[in-house]
């Protein structure tokens, strides 16, 4: 089973989180500022503002620093097929795999692996997800499975904050889902080629 994208396409750097971190700084600063001004520390408003800003920035930097190694480790585990992360490979023959995040209910997406085979296309959420989110979506045979490229969201804040590069849409008679990958254009091309190759393998089998 081969990965459709190269490992380098998935970010290794905590800079991935930097935009969200930047947004989180004022939120946490306000929180810590409120904490300081609420009487716990009896600070004046200047000291309180400095304390809030400093603590907010510190909290976000520490949080980002703690989160990104875990993110990279999970991505590594998923990409290289470690079953402690991706869960057991589903039964059946699969030729390709794609590490991605799938959305059933916007904007909440769940990371996992999409397995592509002639008989079946299936998404399995990874094992580090919260237990209720460890679901499996069976898209059925690859012949009825289609993909489409969707542009980035129209809302400016989602464009800036969330997924600036757009996403893919998977459709089959049994299920529909939005899928996020770091390089949607490359993923779309690779998926299309994989489906074409699977279909071309399917034709001689049917002829026989």
């Amino acid at each position: 089973m081969t990965n459709l994208l190269v490992r380098e396409a998935y970010p290794r750097s905590w800079l991935l989180h930097s935009r969200r971190s930047l947004c989180a700084i004022p939120i946490f600063s306000l929180y810590f500022g409120a904490l300081g001004g609420a009487g716990a520390l009896e600070l004046g408003w200047v000291d309180d503002a400095i304390f809030g800003a400093f603590m907010g920035a510190l909290f976000v930097v520490m949080f980002a620093g703690a989160v990104w190694p875990v993110t990279v480790r999970i991505t590594d585990g998923l990409y290289y097929g470690n079953e402690d992360y991706s869960g057991p490979v589903p039964s059946g023959s699969f030729e390709y795999r794609l590490v991605c995040a799938l959305t059933r209910k916007f904007p909440y997406s769940v990371g996992g692996v999409l397995y592509l085979g002639r008989g079946r296309v299936i998404f399995i959420a990874h094992r580090k997800n919260w237990r209720p989110d460890r679901y499996t979506i069976d898209f059925g045979p690859s012949a009825g499975f289609t993909i489409a490229r969707r542009e980035r969201p129209s809302q400016w804040y989602l464009r800036w904050l969330h997924r600036p590069e757009g996403y893919l849409e998977f459709r089959s008679p049994s299920a529909t889902a939005q899928v996020y990958v770091p390089t949607p254009d490359a993923a779309f091309e690779a998926l299309q080629k994989a489906l074409d190759k699977l279909a071309s393998q399917d034709l001689p089998a049917r002829a026989n």
Binding site: V6, A9, R73, D76, N82, A186, K193
Partner: protein
């Protein structure tokens, strides 16, 4: 200090610590995705040279991990000391300027001690008795070409010491030789003793002396690192061989601390002889072919003559952006996967053209080729180091296996291939 204020802070600290511990245990991985032994086996294979490379790689990983653990132990020891000894006394003092002054002094001492101890431990653990020679064109204002020294230094941490040799026409480094600076370093340290004598009246003799000792240690550790980065070992025509030999012997005996790439500068008359000596002594050679001048062309030809290609890494400055590089990698992956387009040559045409007249294609085909990125910061260095480290480990393994075949008693038993299998 009011009791309710202390209580409030203690409750906040406990809650924060609790939240952190909860987060830590909730996200803790019980098993790593791949053990180091598995990674080494995947990276280097099961051949004798592969097993040797895996042993070197694991040794480097162990050194890096031990340096981190030792740094953490030093940090918590200093924090415990700061809280238990001066911290307790500070709480008992009357509030006022003296208390603030002493508190800031002890915070300075604690932070300085942590940073210095971590620097000392890491610098000592990262030093290994192997030598990597970097050959490149020196340019004063083209800062991007200096990146390779930082990148190789990052890749060599816990593995080897990188060195580079300039001719006297290059004026980019500090004008004073590093060896001279080290000889005269004692004078400013001695003169700085006047400061604690003057400050003793305000903050007390023990605090003033502690500040002085910590400052001197921090200056020694970080000043050394800064000087090695910016300065050069200089020598004249008559003494260049002695200086070069001294530096090589210091590396082999693990003297000083790991401080990145060490530069040397020799007069034009002896520069080529020095390069030849360094090539013969080096365990691996890194050649930057981004800009091939006449001198670099001579260096490449000399390396071809004196070093087996299995120990030569050829690097060039990659002008593509990260997105372009990922796109190219993805195109190559797609070509291999679906066979819909020919696999592209990873080496750019202008680099191939520059090298074609200098070395034979057979020799070049057996060398390792790697681009390095535009980024000057640590992120770029880490990206390059991840690949360059495995390449350098293979080179060292190649040399050690060759040495072992020639002289079976040369190597230490701790890094033998047999030990890896057990």
């Amino acid at each position: 200090v009011p009791t309710d204020q202390i209580l409030s802070l203690a409750v906040q600290a406990t809650l924060s610590l609790g939240a952190y511990l909860l987060y830590h245990f909730a996200t803790r991985d019980t098993r790593p995705p791949m053990t180091m032994q598995d990674a080494a086996a995947v990276l280097f294979g099961k051949s004798p040279a592969g097993l040797r490379a895996a042993a070197i790689f694991l040794e480097q990983m162990r050194r890096m991990r031990n340096a981190r653990i030792a740094g953490r132990i030093a940090m918590w020891a200093v924090i415990a000391w700061a809280v238990l000894v001066p911290g307790r006394n500070l709480l008992e003092m009357e509030t006022g300027n003296n208390q603030l002054l002493l508190a800031s002094t002890f915070i300075y001492i604690s932070v300085g001690l942590i940073v210095t101890l971590k620097g000392l431990i890491a610098g000592r653990w990262y030093l290994q008795p192997r030598l990597v020679l970097i050959l490149r064109r020196f340019r004063r204002r083209e800062r991007r070409y200096a990146v390779i020294a930082d990148n190789v230094a990052e890749a060599c941490r816990g593995l080897a010491v990188p060195i580079t040799i300039q001719d006297s026409s290059f004026r980019g480094a500090l004008p004073v030789g590093l060896n001279l600076m080290r000889q005269w370093m004692g004078i400013p340290f001695t003169l700085s003793l006047l400061l604690p004598i003057r400050a003793a009246g305000a903050i007390g003799i023990p605090a003033a002396l502690s500040v002085w000792v910590v400052s001197c240690a921090a200056v020694a550790v970080y000043g050394n690192r800064l000087l090695v980065r910016l300065g050069v070992f200089q020598a004249g025509v008559s003494e260049y061989a002695r200086v070069l030999d001294h530096l090589i012997r210091n590396v082999r005996r693990r003297r000083w601390l790991y401080a990145g790439t060490r530069s040397m500068r020799f007069p034009d008359e002896v520069w080529r002889d020095a390069i030849e000596i360094a090539i013969r002594e080096a365990d691996a050679v890194v050649i930057d072919v981004s800009d091939v001048s006449e001198a670099v062309a001579w260096e490449i030809a000399t390396v071809e003559r004196l070093t087996p290609p299995e120990r030569v890494l050829i690097v060039w400055y990659d002008e593509r952006t990260e997105a372009e590089r990922i796109r190219a990698l993805q195109a190559q992956h797609s070509a291999e996967l679906f066979g819909d387009r020919p696999v592209e040559d990873p080496v750019p045409a202008h680099i191939r053209q520059a090298l074609s007249g200098l070395v034979t294609p057979e020799w070049l085909g057996r060398c390792c080729l790697l681009p390095y990125e535009r980024k000057r910061g640590r992120a770029g260095a880490i990206a390059f180091a991840a690949e360059a480290t495995t390449v350098l480990v293979r080179f060292f393994a190649h040399k050690e296996v060759e040495l072992e075949a020639a002289h079976p008693s040369v190597l230490q038993p701790g890094v033998s291939a047999d030990n890896l299998g057990r």
